[in-house]
Assembly symmetry: C2
Homo-oligomer: 156 residues x 2
Amino acid sequence: MLSQTSRYALHALIVIARSSGQANVRVIAEETSIPMNYLGKILHVLGRRGLLRSSRGVGGGFWLARPPQQIPLIEIIEAFEDRQFFARCLLGSESCPEGRPCAAHALWAPIVEQTRQFFEATTLADLLAEGQALEALAGPARLPSGSELSIDGVEW
Amino acid sequence: MLSQTSRYALHALIVIARSSGQANVRVIAEETSIPMNYLGKILHVLGRRGLLRSSRGVGGGFWLARPPQQIPLIEIIEAFEDRQFFARCLLGSESCPEGRPCAAHALWAPIVEQTRQFFEATTLADLLAEGQALEALAGPARLPSGSELSIDGVEW
DNA sequence: TGCAAAGCTCATATGCTCATGATAATATCA
DNA sequence: TGATATTATCATGAGCATATGAGCTTTGCA
């Protein structure tokens, strides 16, 4: 559904948001298992898109340019998927030129539209909240095992 | 969303169903603009999956193995997409191993499930009916232009 | 019985996504 | 000011989905 690259971007942003401050490429790559060089490129794109800020040099890294409530998932996706990602019909836009819908169009359109609305309405904050809920459920049993995904200290 | 190959398969099946009988690769390729050799391979796969029958030699071609009411779209898709097509989470199955859902999982699951149900519930016949409805709307204005997509004579 | 039509099969090419590696630019700090 | 840490940028490669091309096999028909 989503490209690997989009999924990397989402995952990286979740980790950055959780880190309550700056996070550098190496650390994010370790935590997410995303190849480091590739991740650098992805974060750079997110920077140009206005989702991340960055600084170089010692102590540098990336951080969210906006609070996660103001980062809808669709912005992340649009950075890496081509423009027709949501415009495309079941049979492809070739079979379905403007104004001459193909046989599948009307049936498929509601599905696409609902998916698009999901990505528009859901924000990075929603994902963080969901992750927090999961941790509350499973947390006590595996806190001692040392996974340091703490969500505290986020100042938004 | 769907791979090019799946979309080719869908499109070809629509054309075959409309042809009310046999259709050969060359004709289908011309009508759909799908590369002929590639189409041949796709139809062969659909044959092995039990969706098409074929015969060789002069006058040979492909035809539906079942009435279109009994061909759900999901069967077509499963022939060309990998098994995890609907199992996959927003962040990918790597981030989301069995029994340990990722942050996005619960939010995304309903979207995937609804999409899966669409492909299960919608049949080739539904696409044909939709195409017929479109033609009824726009038909009179462009019938003289010679597009011979007649739907008559289907004996199912 | 031989030719032509059509599907079948395999080998190869191409283009894109994903990934790697090296180097440059910039920032911090002793 | 030099050593180090970190992002920025560019060149290159790997692998897969997509596509092409050629020859093989089967079938129908004159």
